[in-house]
Every structure is written in structure tokens, then in C-alpha cells.
């Protein structure tokens, strides 16, 4: 037999196709070349959008935007960014007057679109897909380049028009308005203050993950206990948590206007003993998206009477009597619902309503 075996023929075919692909790669306008061209353009576009988003974020934080500072934050080399930003300048997206990089009108509009995509997608991942906080940013970076204006409108409506993303950052509106963040860094507060976490900075990831591991989340109410130059200790759910100094600038808080933690009868629904009636005061901002809407539908609204009636083989979820119905709620959500215990018969403190 002088014939070839099947294996040999297959290897030959494989080699031929590899050669064909390599050759076509350099033939102008061949499908293969167009494919690689498209991929290059996509990558370039994504890089432009990253630069735009970074500039608008830095501007908002009040930082000076330069090619060098951008390169630092984005983890890119300065020559590469210089090349990219040169092209962006040609397209009238940015103005680089060697001192400071500014966005043009078009650039700003595009930048806000990307920022909106990024933050809406983070909201979606957190509220609906329930991704852990530490993974939101990375995932959103991949998707933000693929969402069109109408995708965003649909997403926005689907999520119930969130004003802030899960970190507490404002989401730009469709017509490009960007609210200012509400909070100030924790490092600027004094002991004894009641505050609410309004924003956690998610970069750098190392610091962000350390903050998360302390149990700090946007929407939480804290009392500042001890403030020292090295650290701040806060009262969180009855236990003291110490935040080291390098974490403080990345935790932004605002005064807790509702002073929920000051009233001794005010507590979380999750901590209400079974059989103890109470009145709902507020649903914290940490309950977002669909789960918030669902609770509202069940009539879990401020002013409603509530009473835990059922424990559970595992103690979680528990069931509550609300508006003549029995609703099971996980402790994870119940702890974000603030209630005021009805004055017990034995304590005659009464209390103002």
C-alpha cells in the first residue's frame, strides 16, 4: 500500500488551513483580515472609552487630569496613552494643552454615556444577578462598551431608574447630567457622630476588599466611637469595628439625618424578638431593585405595623405578620428594615410617635 493514512491526510489539511489563514491575514480586504481589523478597532474603541470614563471620573473627584496621571490610574504606559490620546484629540474628543487634559463637548457626552453604562451595569449585576460587590467593577468594564443608548434606557427602566450605583456613585442621566456625590470621607468626621455610608470607592481593589471584609456596605448606619490619627472605630450592629487609616478616605459618609441609631427602641427588623410588635420606620438604601419593589408590594412601607410570628428550623428566614398576611423575609433583608418597637407594657417610657 502506498496510500496515506487518515491521520496523515488530516495533518496535511490542518497545516494547509493554518497557512491559508496566515496568508489571508495579510491579503487586503480578505475576510480574515477584516476580522482582525474589526477586532483591533473594537479594542481601540474600548480603550478610548476607558480613557473618557477615567477623565470624567477624575474630574469629578477634583483631580488634575494629565496623560501621566491617567496612565497611572489606568495601569497603562505613558507612550501608549499619548498615542491614543493624540488620535482622540484628532477626533475632537479631548483637548490636551500639555498642562491638563479636558473633554470637549462631544467627548464629555460620550464619556458620560460610558460612565452611565458602567454604573447601570454594576447596578444590574448587584441588584439582579447578585454578583458579590468585589466582582462588579471588573464585569462592568467588559460590558460597558457594548451597550447602546436604547439598551441603557431599557436597563434603566428595568432597574427602576436607580440614582446611584451599588457603590453609592451617582449614575449620569440619559441627557448627561451627573449629580455630585453626597458624602465626605470618613477621615473628616469626629467621634460620637451618627453617619450613614453613602459611597465606597472601588479602586484600588485591595483597599476596597478590605473595607468590604469589615462588613461596611453602602446604606449602613454607623456611630463613630473612637477617632485617632491611626484609625477610627465605629459601632456597627452592636459590635465595634476598627477601620485603619488607609481605608478612611475611601469610605464616604453623610450625616444620618433620620438618627435611626439614636433611639433605643429603634432596631432592625431582624433583631426584633418573635412576638414583639413594632412599626416600620424605613427601608434602607441597601435594599435595591427588584427586592425593594417586592417588599413594597407586600405592604412593607413606613408606618406599617409588623410583628415576627414564625421562626424557622434554621432561624432564617423568619415570617412576619404584615397587613393581615404572613410574609417570610430573609434576615439579610430584614436587617435593612428599621423598626421601632411598640412600647412594652412593662417599660412605661411611652415614646413619641
Amino acid at each position: 500500500m502506498t496510500g496515506y493514512s487518515i491521520i496523515e491526510i488530516l495533518i496535511a489539511l490542518l497545516l494547509l488551513s493554518v497557512i491559508a489563514i496566515v496568508v489571508l491575514r495579510f491579503v487586503p480586504n480578505s475576510p480574515i483580515q477584516r476580522y482582525f481589523q474589526m477586532r483591533r478597532e473594537k479594542a481601540e474603541r474600548a480603550l478610548w472609552e476607558d480613557v473618557l470614563r477615567q477623565i470624567v471620573q477624575m474630574e469629578q473627584d477634583g483631580r488634575i487630569v494629565s496623560t501621566e496621571s491617567l496612565a497611572g490610574t489606568m495601569g497603562r504606559s505613558v507612550p501608549e496613552l499619548r498615542r491614543v490620546m493624540g488620535r482622540m484629540g484628532e477626533h475632537d474628543l479631548i483637548v490636551d494643552d500639555s498642562q491638563k487634559v479636558r473633554l470637549t463637548k462631544d467627548g464629555k457626552r460620550w464619556a458620560l454615556h460610558v460612565l452611565r453604562a458602567h454604573r447601570l451595569w454594576e447596578s444590574y449585576l448587584a441588584d439582579e444577578a447578585r454578583l458579590p460587590m468585589s466582582r462588579l467593577h471588573h464585569q462592568a468594564e467588559a460590558v460597558e462598551h457594548q451597550l447602546s443608548e436604547s439598551d441603557l434606557a431599557a436597563l434603566d427602566a428595568h432597574l427602576g431608574h436607580p440614582v446611584e450605583d451599588p457603590h453609592g456613585d451617582p449614575i449620569p442621566t440619559a441627557d448627561g447630567e451627573l449629580a455630585h456625590p453626597r458624602g465626605t470621607a470618613l477621615s473628616q468626621w469626629e467621634g460620637g457622630a451618627y453617619v450613614r455610608v453613602v459611597h465606597l470607592e472601588d479602586e484600588p481593589p485591595g483597599i476596597f476588599n478590605r473595607i468590604l471584609s469589615k462588613g461596611i456596605r453602602p446604606g449602613l448606619s454607623l456611630r463613630l466611637e473612637e477617632v485617632s490619627p491611626q484609625s477610627i472605630s465605629v459601632l456597627l450592629d452592636g459590635s465595634i469595628v476598627t477601620l485603619e487609616q488607609d481605608l478612611l478616605p475611601n469610605v464616604e459618609v453623610a450625616e444620618d439625618t433620620e438618627l435611626l441609631t439614636a433611639d433605643p427602641r429603634v432596631t432592625r427588623l431582624s433583631q426584633l424578638p418573635t412576638g414583639q410588635p413594632a412599626e416600620i420606620l424605613a427601608l434602607s438604601d441597601a435594599i435595591r431593585g427588584f427586592s425593594r419593589r417586592r417588599l413594597l408590594d407586600f405592604g412593607v412601607t413606613p408606618g406599617t405595623k409588623v410583628s415576627p410570628i414564625l421562626d424557622n428550623p434554621f432561624g432564617d428566614p423568619r415570617a412576619f405578620r404584615i397587613r393581615g398576611t404572613t410574609i417570610g423575609i430573609r434576615n439579610e433583608q430584614a436587617r435593612e428594615i428599621w423598626v421601632r418597637r411598640d412600647a412594652a407594657v412593662r417599660s412605661s417610657t411611652g415614646g413619641s410617635r
Partner: protein
Amino acid sequence: MTRTTNPLPDAPPGHDCSTCPSFSHLERLGIRLDAWDRLVALAGNPNTGKSSVFNALTGLKQHVGNWPGKTVSRAEGGFRFNGTRYKIVDLPGTYSLLSASEDEEISRNFILFGKPDCIVVVADATALERNLNLALQVMEITDRIVICVNLLDEARRKGIEVDLRSLSRDLGVPCVGTVARTGEGLPNLMRAVSEVIDGTAITKPVRTHVPAEVETALAELVPMIEEVAPGLPNARWVAFRLLDGDLRIREALLNGDLSHLAEDQHKPANPAAPSLVSIHGSQ
């Protein structure tokens, strides 16, 4: 306009009420229904006995489970009452029309775009407060509405009494008490439905109370919407939905669906209206 229950003598459980004298005008058509004169939709919270009402009216035996979300799709059937053929659609049970879950979307779209001649909101007499939440929302959309306060037997067992006369007066729409499982009150329900449809019973649904800043916003938007879609019966509700940013309503306003709806409002109900399929298709 007001209606009170006129409880029939309690029929024994499982007693076939098609032989009761009060049902003499009712002919259950099941799913054998090729043309109909009137379209009635059943809406309500889960576990309110909606499917029981549906079964009692149509003679069908749709399975009645007892867990939220049991009716995952829409059931349709028919009955004839006093010579008029009614088509009845059992919508998925929903707690509200605001959350935009899949079920709620189906119900909402049918109530708004399905052009039903009357909506029956089935409410659980033992948890009226929670059930009125949905009823009040539906009342913003349409004034052709009858509230069916069901499960009166359970309520009695629990020592709960519902004053239907006062409820009807407060809500401005007929409220009929029923025990769908035994057929109690169903003739009254059908009479109320036919009276709302032919206009003998004038309904004047109470408007929902909203905070001042929302009311101000509504006051500004409603005239604008009325100008865009003249004759729209529920401009206030559309304004609600626009403020909430409901995509489907935005779309309907832009592409003129709402204006068409307003025009159709004044035409007599068309038995052959090709409405059902298109609603589902627009999901």
C-alpha cells in the same frame, strides 16, 4: 351602584350549583367559545381564589393550587348570562402592577391594551388591606371594574366581617361578596358585571392618594398627556407610569398606541377584536 351580598343558603360542599335556581341564567360554555359579546378579565393577588371564580363561572376545572405563582399562564373560558356571551380571561395573580415582573407585565398589558369590557378584581376578604392595593391601582386604569370580595367563608371562620355597602361607597365601584367554591354570590357578581358593562351601574372610582410633590407633578403632566391623546380615560395613570419611567407606556405614547386606545374607547365593543394575540406578541 352599591351592592350588598345577599347570601344564599349555604350550599353543602361539592354541591353542584348549576341546578340552583339562582343560576338559571347561567350557561357555562367552558372553552367552547368561537365568538363572544363581552370580554371580562379576572385580576387579583395570588391565593385569592381567582381560579375558583373562573372555574365556577366557566364550568372548567383549572387546577387550584395554593402557592403564590401557581397560575403561570393565562386561562380563558366562556359563559352565557342573560343571553350575552362572555369571554373570561384569568390573568396571572399579582400583588401589584408596579414591579414589572413577567406576570405583572402580562396582566398590566391585558388590562390596558386588551380592551376588556370589565375587570373583576378578586380580593381576599381575610386580607382586604393588601388586596385593595392592587384594586386601587387597577381603578386608576379603568372605571369598568367590579371588586369581588371572595373567601367570605374563610373570613367568617376567622371572625372577619366585611361591610360591602360601605366599601362600595368608599371605592365608588360595585363590591360583591362571594364564596366561589360553593357558588355563593356569583349571580350577584355576574349581575354587577353586566350592569357595569351596559352602564346601568355608574362607577366613579376613588383616586389614589399621593404625596403633594407627586400630585403637583401629575397636575402638570395630565393636561399635556390629554393634549397628545385626547379622550384618554386614564391620563392620570399614564402620568404615573411616565413618572415611574415605564418603558412600555413611553413606547405606547410615542408610537400612538395610547391615542388609538382613546379613539377605541368610544366605539362599541367588537366581538371579533383581534386583541388577545397581539398583546402576547408585544412582550
